[in-house]
């Protein structure tokens, strides 16, 4: 039998292929259902999730930082400006290995390791995620070009133009206007995160700090559509930022410079006030510093030099410097004595050169060892007689003294809008008991009467107390801002009560005594008064730095320079119609009348005299002729 011929069984093949095809079709429909279910899952079940994802991808909100308000002096001279500056920013999240990128920056810009440390600190200070952090400010053209050329090595690094604070007057207003600096982490926690979302700087001290809210303005924002690489394609919505308000200060740059010149490089502080309005006309704390490096972030080295300097340039002597007021307190003591009825203008005290408490051997010395003989109020002020005031203090007692001195602003903050003012100290029996757990000794009252002992005042307090003498007790807190955004600055919610005397003539009696300090024949500062074109009422003072032992004399040769007494002088002028009150403190200047008084007069001249050295018309009074006759 031949082998069977294998015929093609077409029917069978067809059946086989059909069954396989039907199986394939079933599988195919199943898989299509799977796809549809997957789509249903993505588009219906997870719709919210993906919708959010897509929106987040697309729309970014960029904040538009407001332009910080400018600060001008009372004549419109610019003190704090905003300057366009190019800064180098780094976005940590985009940089990848940002430490390596930092290394590249250092290498490309040929910087030293000190700046690397600084950059690192700035980055670590940390802000919101994906926010570019400025690491370097004020790039030069050459540096910008270098960054541009090496951009491929610097992921996440950008050159950004921004407005940066600049203080064209440099050190002149460092202590009053203060400065802005980078927002640090502590501040970040307290700040409104929305309003400050685009801001890198915040006021750190002074006016910049106190009026931060007004200067900063309101942040704007724009909603932008970006592509995957973060490139802005179009702006969807834009809300313009509201610029910060401009501030006009009460300070006068000419007087400020005149006052600085008067100090002639010595360490010290000067405050000049308008007693009628409370406006601070000049505020000097020497030595000072250039605030500009603080804006962009001062280098460790430069900051170290400032911080460790023996002259303490960063120390605001006007607001935070504490000094025993010395004899400058005597006019206020006199007012207190008169008003409390302890003395009258004609009450006389015999001065043998010292004062002794009954039944005590200790002698409280007058500065003039030989004594001034019979002393009345006028002479006590013009001669700065200690014995008279020992006697007055003894009769008044410490608590009455405390209460009255407090009315002059001692032992409390007096300024309206200054940052970090110190309250000083006006001691009392209660204070000593709670502070030292000791009773008050009568001797402590005596030295308190001449402004020594526990009492501590700031130059600003002295100036304010003097202004109160000039305005006959009318209280207006000293303030630096004349107008904020064209409006009256903040209202004083805590205005101290005016000092109203039982007899208004007592002001004149003490005022005359103060005038005689400069214009009287025996006045301690008569040399200064002699050269004045107007009448000055003033008082000198000496603040002890180290105590002198009983029976020992102050010997300047034995005392180290920085242990020498501080020279104080307070004054207002013109005496008949005061337009300016000033307090001068010369550190280790020794002599209030010899060193501080000429400085004070120079400041008064700076305000009251015109460019030709003549008394300005508005300060001339009818009494001027009598003054000239007397001379």
């Amino acid at each position: 039998m031949p082998p069977p011929i294998r015929l093609k069984d077409h029917e069978r093949d067809t059946r086989l292929i059909r069954s396989r095809m039907l199986f394939g079709g079933a599988a195919l429909i199943f898989l299509t259902m799977l796809l549809m279910f997957r789509m249903y899952y993505l588009q219906v079940v997870q719709f919210e999730h993906h919708s959010t994802l897509a929106e987040n991808n697309r729309i970014h909100v960029q904040s538009l930082p407001p332009t910080r308000g400018m600060i001008y002096d009372r004549n419109g001279v610019l003190i704090a400006d905003n300057r366009a500056s190019f800064s180098l920013t780094l976005t940590r999240e985009r940089a990848g290995d940002w430490e390596q990128v930092l290394d590249s920056i250092i290498e490309i810009l040929e910087l030293d390791t000190d700046s690397r440390e600084l950059f690192e600190k700035r980055i670590r200070q940390g802000r919101r995620p994906f926010e570019p952090v400025p690491v370097m400010f004020e790039l030069s053209e050459a540096q910008i070009a270098r960054v541009a050329v090496n951009q491929f090595r610097l992921p996440g690094v950008e050159v950004a133009a921004s407005l940066v604070r600049y203080y064209p007057q440099k050190e002149h207003f460092a202590h009053s206007v203060g400065y802005v600096g980078r927002i640090n982490e502590t501040e970040l926690k307290k700040l409104d995160p929305i309003n400050y979302s685009g801001t890198h700087h915040i006021g750190k001290t002074g006016i910049e700090r106190f009026y931060e809210e007004q200067l900063h303005g309101q942040v704007g924002y724009e909603e932008v559509e970006t592509n995957a690489r973060g490139r802005v394609l179009r702006v969807l919505n834009r809300v313009e930022p509201i610029s910060g308000q401009d501030i006009y200060l009460t300070l006068d740059i000419k007087l400020q410079e005149a006052a600085e010149l008067a100090l002639d490089g010595r360490r010290g502080a000067i405050v000049a006030l308008d007693p009628n309005s409370g406006e601070v006309l000049a505020m000097v704390s020497q030595p000072s510093f250039d605030p500009n490096p603080f804006v962009t972030g001062i280098s460790f080295k430069a900051y170290g030099l400032l911080r460790d300097s023996l002259d303490q340039p960063l120390f605001n002597r006007v607001l935070r410097g504490l000094y025993p007021p010395g004899s400058t307190i005597k006019p206020m003591m006199a007012i207190a004595g008169l008003d409390l009825g302890i003395v009258t203008p004609s009450t006389r005290v015999f001065d043998p050169g010292f004062f002794q408490l009954p039944n005590h051997k200790h002698r409280y010395r007058n500065w003039n060892r030989y004594g001034d003989g019979w002393v009345n109020l006028d002479l006590a002020l013009s001669r700065s007689n200690d014995t008279y005031f020992y006697d007055l203090a003894h009769k008044m007692g410490v608590d009455r003294m405390h209460d009255y001195m407090t009315r002059f602003g001692f032992g409390q903050r007096v300024a309206l809008d200054m940052f970090e003012e110190t309250a000083g100290l006006m001691p009392s029996k209660d204070w000593k008991r709670s502070r030292y757990r000791q009773p008050w000794y009568p001797g402590e009252t005596l030295i308190l009467g001449i402004g020594q002992g526990y009492m501590q005042t700031t130059p600003l307090q002295l100036a304010q107390a003097t202004a109160l003498m000039a305005s006959k007790g009318k209280w207006i807190r000293p303030h630096l801002a004349r107008s904020v955004g064209g409006l009256q600055p903040i209202i004083d919610a805590d205005m101290p009560a005016d000092i109203v005397l039982r007899d208004d003539k007592n002001w004149d009696a003490v005022g005359m005594g103060m005038e005689n300090v400069l214009h009287g024949t025996r006045g301690t500062a008569r040399k200064v008064g002699d050269s004045a074109l107007y009448r000055i009422a003033g008082k000198s003072g000496t603040a002890q730095v180290v105590a002198i032992k009983q029976g020992e004399r102050y010997n300047r040769d034995k005392v180290q320079e920085r242990h020498r007494d501080h020279a104080l002088f307070v004054a207002y002028a013109p005496a008949e119609n005061p337009a300016i009150a000033v307090a001068v403190m010369v550190e280790n200047g020794e002599s209030g009348s010899g060193v501080a008084a000429p400085v004070a007069k120079q400041v008064l001249d700076g305000w009251l005299l015109d460019d030709e050295g003549e008394l300005k018309v508005e300060y001339q009074t009818t009494e001027r002729s009598t003054t000239e006759v007397r001379r």
């Binding site: 396989r20 993906h50 995957a228």
Partner: protein
């Protein structure tokens, strides 16, 4: 056909004659209609995905026109003619692949192209997409089904040779699809289930071996990213995350044509090629995607009818393989964009931008039409 003959036409004769107009040019009306729907849809989506680039649109339309032309030409060929020449075409294709391997034109870092400057520039791999199932169908149809073990082994060799050559280009996606089209022929030809299951069981160790010895780093990365896209959101996982976000944010009805944000703002990579379904999903929503899938199903359904009605075993096997492979294209693409499958670089048929794949696909449909329209009519009374 009946001109000159004087006979009375029955009602059935009239219907057949009307249908025969397209048959005379060997075009299947259903397939043509559905392909035109897909092509039109594709152009609409591409206009949006390509950023309203009219040049892109014109290029794609002309590619489609060219593909249509090739389809019509292919449709004119007798299936028997294809069967006769398939072996030679297969050999030619393999030779071209070897040439590419040796002196290929380097495009996109992978050697895939044959370039005769001024004349023609094409990928031999595209040819093999049709030649491999055609050759296998011819080979298996010569004898009774199911194929014997010897024939299966020879078929496997016929599949593996082009697979290896193409995988070395390296284009694992295309290589796998070609292998799949060959395997489908075997499957339809009655490959025993035990073999099929055995092969599936063998896939695991083979996959491990491929992972260790064959796969390139970028391919491994694709698999890894597929398994956990969020692991590298800005790198390899970016594509999947973004395409899922695009599709998912479309919701039920979509954001509207030209209003998709993901795709227009460059978040979606390759939005006009492999990931175009994400654009469609974002702009037309679940409804749009389901409608598109329905059109695909209709097209595949028609192709299955053609397969079942084919008169020869060669025709059935080839048509069936083309049909199932076409579905695999759709499934793999949609599956990868929606995060079900790894990213393998398969375009969405008729929607994705790209002339080469369009021409190949339409050639495949030309073969289907040829198989359908070259049937021998048996007279029914």
């Amino acid at each position: 056909m009946t001109r000159g003959f004087n006979r009375v036409l029955s009602e059935g004769d009239v219907l057949r004659r009307r249908a025969s107009f397209l048959q005379r040019v060997h075009i299947d009306g259903w397939l043509l209609f559905l392909l035109l729907i897909l092509a039109t849809t594709g152009l609409f989506v591409l206009y949006s995905a390509g950023g309203r680039d009219q040049g892109l649109l014109i290029k794609q339309a002309s590619s489609f026109g060219l593909g249509m032309l090739v389809m019509i030409v292919v449709a004119q060929l007798e299936p028997r003619f294809m069967a006769r020449w398939s072996a030679l075409l297969y050999v030619l294709g393999v030779v071209l692949l070897i040439i590419v391997e040796v002196v290929g034109h380097n495009a996109m870092g992978a050697t895939r192209w044959i370039n005769i400057p001024g004349l023609v520039r094409f990928q031999p791999a595209e040819l093999m997409k049709l030649f491999v199932p055609m050759t296998l169908a011819w080979y298996l149809a010569r004898h009774n089904l199911p194929p014997s073990f010897k024939r299966i082994v020879i078929s496997a060799v016929l599949i593996v040779v082009p697979f290896v050559l193409i995988a070395r280009q390296p284009d694992l996606g295309t290589a796998t699809l070609i292998m799949v089209s060959g395997v489908f022929v075997l499957f339809l030809g009655g490959l025993r289930w035990r073999w099929i299951l055995g092969a599936i069981a063998a896939v695991v160790p083979i996959a491990i071996a491929m992972w260790m010895f064959v796969m390139h780093q970028y391919q491994k990365q694709r698999v890894l990213t597929f398994l956990n896209p969020e692991s590298d959101p800005l790198g390899s996982g970016w594509n999947i995350i973004q395409s899922k976000a695009a599709i998912g944010s479309g919701g039920v009805f979509g954001k509207g044509w030209l209003l998709g944000t993901q795709s227009h703002l460059d978040f979606l990579p390759e939005s006009h090629t492999d990931f175009i379904i994400a654009v469609l999903g974002e702009e037309f929503g679940l409804v749009g995607i389901c409608l598109l899938l329905m059109v695909y199903l209709l097209l595949i359904g028609r192709a299955m009818v053609i397969t079942l009605q084919a008169q020869t075993v060669f025709g059935k096997l080839l048509a069936g393989s083309i049909t199932l492979t076409f579905f695999i294209y759709v499934f793999v693409n949609v599956g990868m964009v929606s995060g079900l499958l790894p990213i393998v670089g398969v375009p969405l048929p008729f929607i994705s931008y790209g002339g080469t794949s369009l021409v190949t696909l339409l050639s495949g449909f030309g073969i289907l039409m040829a198989i359908h329209t070259h049937r021998k009519w048996i007279a029914h009374s």
